[in-house]
Structures are given as C-alpha cells and as structure tokens.
C-alpha cells in the first residue's frame, strides 16, 4: 500500500492536486499506479523526456481505447471514434506531421498577433457590462466568452450559438478529460460530438461554396489539394472549437483565482501592465488548465532509472513538472516576474499546443483588462468546486465580488 493515495479522483486530490503531486514526486517520481493501471510521471526531467520522444511514446489514444471496448460498444460509440480518431492530438507521425504542417500557419505567433485588437475589443465589451455590477461568475460571465468568440471568429463560424456550443463542448469534455464520476460519460460525449458535427458540417459546406479569408476556408482548400481528408476537416473543426475555448477558459478562471488570493500581485499587475507576458507564463505554471496528458509506450524505454514496457501507459503530469523544485526555485510561490520559466503547461515536443500563441495572447488581454478595469476581486464562496477530472483543472464556477 503506498503512503500516498492511488485514487486520482479523491476529493482532496481534486481540490488541491499540487500537494498530492508533491507527495507523489517525493515518494516516487516514476510510480506505477495499480489502481489507474499505469505509470505516473511527476518529475520535470522525466516529463520532458517523454514528451520529446514520439518514437518511444504514442499519443494514439483511440487505438488503445478500441482494444478495451467490446465490438458492440465500439459500434455504439462510433461517433466518438469517427471524430476523435482523426484528431491531430491523438495521432502519431507521419499523420501527425501532415496535419500539423497544414494547421501550423494559422497559429504562429505572428499570425495570431493580428487578432489582438479584436480580442481587446471583445474583452472590453464584456468588462463594460460587468464593471458596474460589483459581482460575477468569472467562468460563466467572462472566461469562456473570450476564447469561444475568438476561435469562432478565426474559423469564420457565426458566434450566434455560443451557449449551445459551450454545452456540447462540455458534453464532449466529460469523455475527453477523464470525468470518471459520470457513468454515462461515453453516451454524453456521443451526444456532444454528434451535435458539434451537425452544427459545423453546413458551415464547412458554405465555405466550400463561398470561400472567405478564414481558417475553415483554408482547411477546405487544403483538403482540395489532397493534404487532408474530409473527415479530418470536420474533426479538426470540432477539435478547434472544443480545444480552442475550454482550456483558455480554465486558464482565465484559474489565473483570476490565483490573483484574487494574492491581492498584492493583482495590484502589481495593475501598476505595471508591462509584466503581463511573464505574468501569464507564471499563471500557466502555477495552476495550468491541463494537469496531465497520457502516452502509451511503444517499445521498452528507461525513464528515471525504471523500465517502462511496450504497451504500458503513462500519465505525464504537467502540473507536477511545473512545480518540481529541481527545476523551479520556490515552486509553490506565485512570482509574476519569474524568469526563465520553462513550464510545460502547453506540453513539449511534436504535440506542443497548436493554440499556445493564441491562448497566450487571449490570456494577456483578459488579465490586462481585468486588472486595469476592476479592483481586486474577493472570492464569494467558501466552497470552490472543480469538475472531477484527471486531465483538466476546471472550476465549476468562480463567483467573485469587487
């Protein structure tokens, strides 16, 4: 019996994952968790090693999931398989490389910089409505609206149905973020993914008929050049809508909470907006939206002196690496000017977040807007609740007064 719990979904682990990862790292940074059925990697160097080694570690989650399910279940959950098996994030080279080269152009630091004025305007409009109210739920009233409006605009999709899209994305997230509390998680995810596909398909067809200057048109054009398949176009759209807002929403919420708990840092950012770039990096390190990701071992590999065997799976704990004292001095301290700050909140290696520059820019604008326009917020509840999930760090709500 380990000294530290092996229940990744324990309530304490959900509220305070960082203390848990610290204990785990101190116990054994390369720990085999019998209950979860895989390795847990919590040391910075090991995490980076694995993320940078696509030859040793596969991301092909759907192939491994297919093995675990019966034929009947595979039929039942076909909508999930059909779409998610095409997602770049779950693919290995050479398919991964092909998709990444097609998508990369639209998300380079230079390309996303063009959207900054639009993001600033969206943030400004939202805060204009919020400012006078004296209270808000950061998640519902602010955090999701910024990135969702941005990604829909970038793709060239109408933003009329933001609430519906959020609801479908949440349904899909039940599966994606390993929400083990929900017994119907695969059914729910099926509903979400089917709705998103039905919503996005006519929009893609519209771009085919009437090309415009947006990302969907670029994807359709790439398909017509034979660079990706029709299924990949739709699946990518689903991933961008979903991945394009859930995570950034959580960064804005988690970051607002961290700053509300460190009022002197909120004031510092208000006085010195030039700190915004390093501040966002620190918020990503301190309490990032993606706690972990999963890899499957492709051939025996040594990590931290232990042999991981072909077919084993590994939980690569990004949030643990981000607080490894061997890499970061005083890792549990929020230090907005920390430099260098080589955190792994966006992962490393070939799957490093495609939307990293976009998310950074959105978060910079969001936190600039918040700190400039509002006084230090006070958290207006004693019981903050997180969605019970192994992978994502997602507040259910963040009510604040200011």
């Amino acid at each position: 019996m380990p000294l530290v719990t092996d229940d990744l979904m324990a309530p304490d682990v959900m509220t305070d994952p960082h203390s848990y990862y610290r204990q785990m790292r101190e116990l054994d940074p390369v720990f085999f968790n019998e209950r979860w059925g895989g390795w847990m990697l919590t040391g910075y160097d090991d995490v980076v090693q694995v993320l940078r080694d696509p030859d040793g570690f596969s991301s092909d989650r759907m192939r491994f999931l297919a093995r675990e399910l019966s034929e009947a279940d595979r039929q039942r959950f076909a909508p999930i398989f059909d779409v998610l098996s095409q997602w770049i994030v779950f693919r290995d080279p050479p398919d991964h490389t092909r998709l990444r080269i097609v998508l990369n152009k639209a998300f380079t630091p230079k390309a996303v910089e063009r959207y900054r004025p639009r993001v600033r305007a969206i943030v400004g409009d939202l805060l204009g409505e919020i400012e006078g109210k004296g209270r808000m739920d950061v998640v519902r009233d602010f955090a999701y609206l910024v990135p969702l409006t941005v990604i829909l605009g970038l793709m060239g999709a109408p933003d009329l149905d933001r609430d519906l899209i959020k609801q479908w994305s949440e349904q899909l997230g039940v599966f994606f973020f390993l929400r083990a509390d929900e017994p119907r998680r695969r059914e729910i995810a099926c509903e979400g993914v089917t709705s998103l596909v039905e919503y996005l398909t006519p929009i893609v067809e519209e771009k085919r008929a009437h090309p415009a200057d947006d990302l969907l048109t670029a994807l359709v054009a790439a398909q017509e050049r034979g660079e990706l398949s029709e299924q990949e176009v739709i699946a990518t759209c689903v991933l961008l809508v979903f991945g394009g807002h859930e995570t950034t929403m959580n960064l804005i919420a988690n970051g607002t909470l961290a700053l509300a708990r460190h009022p002197e840092e909120w004031e510092r950012l208000k006085q010195q907006p030039a700190l915004i770039e390093s501040a966002v990096e620190e918020l990503l390190r301190y309490d990032g939206p993606v706690k972990a990701t999963v890899r499957w071992v492709k051939h025996d590999v040594t990590v931290g002196g232990k042999t991981l065997r072909d077919g084993d799976r590994a939980l690569v704990v990004l949030s643990a690496a981000n607080r490894d004292p061997q890499q970061f001095t005083d890792p549990d301290r929020l230090e907005l000017t920390r430099s260098p700050n080589p955190h792994v909140a966006f992962a490393h290696g070939i799957h490093v977040c495609l939307g990293a520059s976009l998310a950074r820019m959105e978060a910079q604008e969001a936190f600039l807007g918040l700190t400039q326009r509002l006084p230090v917020p006070v958290v207006a509840t004693d019981e903050l609740e997180y969605h019970p999930a192994v992978v994502s760090r997602a507040l259910k709500a963040l009510p604040v007064e200011f």
């Binding site: 940078r52 380079t108 630091p109 992962a347 290696g349 490093v352 520059s357």
Partner: protein, 82 residues
C-alpha cells in the same frame, strides 16, 4: 538550393520545445540535437524564403534570422537578437 544571402540563424534553447516544425520546413538547415531541441546544422543549405518560413512557423518564436553582414533582424524577437 543554397541562399545567396549570408544568414545568421539562432535558436533560443530556453524557448525551443522540440516541436520539429522547423526541421520539417527546412530539413537541410535544422536538425534535432541529443536533447531533441533544434540546432542549425548548415545556415546556407536552403533558400532564404524557406528558412524564414521555418523561423516564422516556430510555435514558440524561438528562431531569429539575421543578415550575417549587417546584423539586421529579418525575422524574430527583437530582444533575442544580439
């Protein structure tokens, strides 16, 4: 095709996460080192246009391209340029 312009290409190893994008876009100039980070193996072995596209494609903005003679920054972060 080699570039006619002499370029100085630098990869900021504090930023490079080994995405391999630059290696895909300009494989005769960039290669991964033992740490699986990018290193410049031959700054002359591609067109300037391809090299600049590779630099621009870096998701971390880790690559700086300069004119080797004048030092003028052709692509990349101002602060990283020396």
């Amino acid at each position: 095709m080699p570039t006619s312009q002499r370029l100085r290409i630098t990869v900021d190893l504090n930023k490079c996460v080994g995405s391999t994008i630059c290696v895909q876009l300009s494989p005769s100039v960039f290669a991964l080192n033992d740490q699986r980070q990018s290193s410049v193996v031959d700054p002359t072995n591609d067109t300037a246009a391809n090299i600049l596209e590779a630099a621009e494609g870096c998701p971390l903005g880790a690559i700086v391209v300069q004119d080797a003679e004048t030092g003028q920054v052709l692509f990349g972060a101002r602060d990283a340029a020396v």
